[in-house]
Amino acid sequence: MAPQTRQLCTFSLGELLFGVAVTHVQEVIRYQEMTSVPLAPALIRGLINLRGQIVTALDMRARLGLPAREGELPMNVVLRTTDGVVSLLVDEIGDVVQADESAFERVPETTDGILREIVSGVYKLDRRLLLLLDVERVMQNSQANSKGEAA
C-alpha cells in the first residue's frame, strides 16, 4: 500500500513547529499594519485590510501562552475556516512539507494543556516534531474568550 501523505504548510512559534493542511491556507503574507480592537481578548491582535476584506489577526503566541514577540515582525498565515477568513500571526514561515500519514500520532498525554487544545496530532519528521494545528479549535476558543470578555 502506497503511503498516504498530506501537504502541510509549516510555521514556527518559538521552539515549536506547526503545520496546517495547505487546503486551509489562503495565502501567506508579510506583516501588515493592523488596527487593534479595544476590549477584545489578547489573542486578537487586530484587523487587517486584506485587499478590501477585513480579516482578524490572531496572535498565536498569546494563544499558546508564549512570551510576547520581540524584534522581528510576525508573519500572517491567512486561513479559510468555516467561520470566515482569519490570519494567524506566527514567528516564521517554514516549507510546505509532505507529511507521511504513517508518521502521525495523537498528542502525547503529557503534553501541555494549551497545546492539546489546539493540536490534533503530531507528525514525527526526520529531526523534529510537526504539530498539526486544528484550525477550528483555535477559532472556537478565541470566540469563547471574547464572549467571556464581553459578559
Binding site: E33, M34, T35, S36, V37, P38, L39, A40, I44, G46, L47, I48, N49, G52, Q53, I54, V55, T56, L58, D83, G84, V85, V86, M139, S142, Q143, S146, K147, E149, A150
Partner: protein, 813 residues
Amino acid sequence: MSADDELIREFLLESWEGLNQLDRDFVELERNPGDRDRLGAIFRCIHTIKGTAGFLALRRLESVAHAGESLLSRLRNGDFLLDAEMTSALLAMVDAIRSMLERLESSGGEGEETYEPLIATLAALTAGQRPQAASAVEPSVAAAAPPPPAAHAPTPTPTPAPSVAAPAAAPEPTPVAVEHAPEPDVVEVQDHATAADAPSPSPEPRETPPPVASAPTPTPEAPAMSTAPAPQPEAAPARKSDAPEPTTGKAAPPAGGGSVSDTAIRVDVGLLDRVMNLVGELVLARNQILQYGATFKDAGFANASQRLNLLTTELQEGVMKTRMQPIGNVWNKFPRVVRDLAHACSKKVELSLDGTETELDRTIIEAIKDPLTHAVRNAVDHGIERPEARVAAGKPEAGRLILRAFHEGGQVNIEITDDGGGIDATKVRNRAVERGLISADRASRMSDREAVHLIFAPGFSTAEKVTNVSGRGVGMDVVKTNIEKIGGTVDIHTQPGHGTTLKIKIPLTLAIIPALIVTSAGNRFAIPQVSLLELVRLEGEVAARSLETLQGSTVYRLRGNLLPLVFLDRALELKATTGSADTVNIVVLQADDRQFGLVVDGINDTEEIVVKPLGKELKGISAFAGATIMGDGRVALILDVLGIAQRANVVSAARERSMVEKATSAQSRAEDREALLLFRLGPDGRMGLPLSMVARLEEIPRDSVEFAAGREVVQYRGAILPLLDVRRALSVASNASHDAPLQVIVYSEHGRSFGFVVDQILDTVEESLSIKQRSNREGVLYSAVVGGKVTDILDVHGVIRRIDPSFFSREAA
C-alpha cells in the same frame, strides 16, 4: 389598485409572454385544428390569465377570459372543431385581453369597457349556436353590420336566433379593436403615439372600421386575418413610442411608456448584491485615491481623480437604485390586513397610503416588513376606537389610518398616523408600574412623553390584555428593536383623544453610510451619522469649568440640561495619550431615547463608509457595529452607539430593559440597588434622597427668592417654584454663607414642583442599601450605610406633606 403594483407588474410580464405565444398558437391551430397539445396550451394560458385576473379583482378581464375559456374547454373536449369563426372570436378575445392589459399598464386600471358583444359571441359559440349557412350569409351581413357596432358599440341580444348570431359574431372582433381607440382618456398617450407613429403598418384604432367592413367580403376567414395582424402593430408602436416621442414617457407610469416586458428584465438578486459589494469596494478605492491624490500636486492626476470621484458617486447611486424597491411593496398587503382586522374588531377604518413610490433598499424593505405590520395592526387594534365611541367623541364613524413615506435628509421617514383615542400617559404609567417595569417613583417623575415611550419597553407588551391600555401595545418593543437593528429610530407622538403618530426613520441603505470619524488615544473610529446630534468643543478654561463630576461620572450642562459624558478612551479601556485636556470634544449622540456626550480626542471629517461585518470572534463585543476601510487603507472600527451607551450605563432604557429581565427571575434585585443623590445639611449632616425623585439640580441666587402666600418661592422656568428649606424642616442649623447661591434640588410630581434647599450637593451613588434602620426623626425615612458612611434618607413625601398637605390630594383624587 396601486397597492398591488408589484403583483400587477408580474402579472403583466407573465401575460405578455403568454399572449405573444397565443398569437402564434392560434395561427398554427387554424391550420391544423386537430392539434390537441396546442389547444391545451392555449387553454392553460387563458385559464391562468383568468385566474390571476380574478385574484387581482380585474373583473372585466376575468369575464372576457372566462368566456374564451369556456369555448376553449369545449374545443378541447372535442365537442367542436375549431373553425375560422371561432378563431376570430378567440383572437378577438386575445385582443381584448391585450388592450385591457395595456390599459392596466398605463393607467393602473382595466378600463370601463365590458366587451359584452364579444362575451355574448363567445357564449353563443360555446352553446353550439352556429349558423348553418354562416359562410354564405356572413359576408353580406358583415359588410353591412360592422359600421353600427363600431359607431355606438351596441349590445346584441345574448342568444339571438342562430342565423342572426352568426353574422353578429363576425363583426364582433372589430368593435374590440375600435373600442380601444374611443377611450382616449385612459390610454391617451399610448393611443396617440400608436396612431401617430404607426399609421402605416395596419388598420389600427380609428382606421379599423373600413378595413373590416371590406375585409369580410371575400371569405369568412378574412375577419380573422384582419384581426390577427392587430397584435403586431399594437406591439410595435408601443416599442417605437418611447424612443421618438418623449411625451410618452411621463404619461405611462410604469417603465416609461414601453411595455413592461420590453423595458424590464429579471435580474438575480444575488448578482445585484455582488455588484453592490463591488461598488462598495470601488468607493473605498476612490476614497484612497482621493486621499493619496491630495498629497501631491499634479493637475492631471487631480482631474482624473476628481472625475473618478464623480463617476463613482454616480455609479454608486445607480447601483443603489437597482436594489431599490418602492415601499408600496410592503404596503400593498396592508389594505387587506386593515380590512380584516377592522372587521374582526368591528371597527371602521379608512386606510390611505401616501408616498407608496418612496424607494428603499431591498434589504431594508425586508427588515421593515414585520415591524410595519405590527405597527399598523396596533393602530387598528388599539389606536382607532369603535364606531360608537368615535361618534360619541364627535368624530366620523370610520377611523382614518394614514401611512406616509417620504425621503428627508438621506433617510426615509415613515409615519403611521391614526385619528384614534391616542395614548393615555397615566394609564401607561400605571400599567408599567403594575408590570414591574419601573418603580412608582420613577413613573410619577416621568414626563407624559417619556411615559408614552414606555410602550416600547419589552414586557410592557407581552400582556394578554394590552387593550386595557387605550393605546398601542402588542409588540411595540419588537417594532423598536427591529427598526433600531437597521440603524433606524422610532418616535411616537400622541394627543389623547386625537390620535397617535408613529414616526419611523430609517436609512436608505445599509451598505454605505455616512459616518463621522473621530480619534481617541490614537485610534480612529467611525460613528454612524444617524446617531449624531451635534458636536460641542470646549476650549481652555471653559473646558475645565464646564465639566462637573458626580462621583466619577462626568456631566456637562448643555443648554441647561445635564448631559452625561462618556470618555471613549475609558469606555474602550484605551491607554490615554493626552493627559491634560486643553480642549474637550464632545460628540452628542442619541442612544435609544437618551442623549449622551462622547468625549473624544479629535473630530475629523464625515465620510461615506462601507460597513463590513466583524469576524465571528469579535461579534461578542457590543461596542462595535462593524469595521470599515479608511482612505489610507487602514481598518477603522465602527462604534455601536447604543452598545457604548449601555457599557457606560447612560441608557436608562437599557437599565430598565435589563431590570425587566432580572425582574422575571428575581424581582427584588433591581430594587435593592438604589441610586441616591447625596447632599450635605448643616456642617456634617449627610443625607440622601432617591435620585429618581430628582428632576434637576439648580443654583439659585439668593436675591431672586420672592414670597408668595407666606412661602419662599422663585420664578423658575416660567412657573413659580415653592422652596422648601430642608434645614428648617429638619431643624438643622445652616452654616452656609448668606450671600452664596441657594443649592436647590428640584422635585416634580404630577406637574407640580418643589425646590428643596440644601447646603451642598455632594454626589450621586448607586448602591444596594443592605443596612437600613428606621428612623424616628421627622423628615427622615430611614438611615442607611451609603459609601461607608451612615446617611439619613430624606422622607420627601413626608416633608412636603407637612408644609403643603394638599400637594398629594390630587394624587388621591
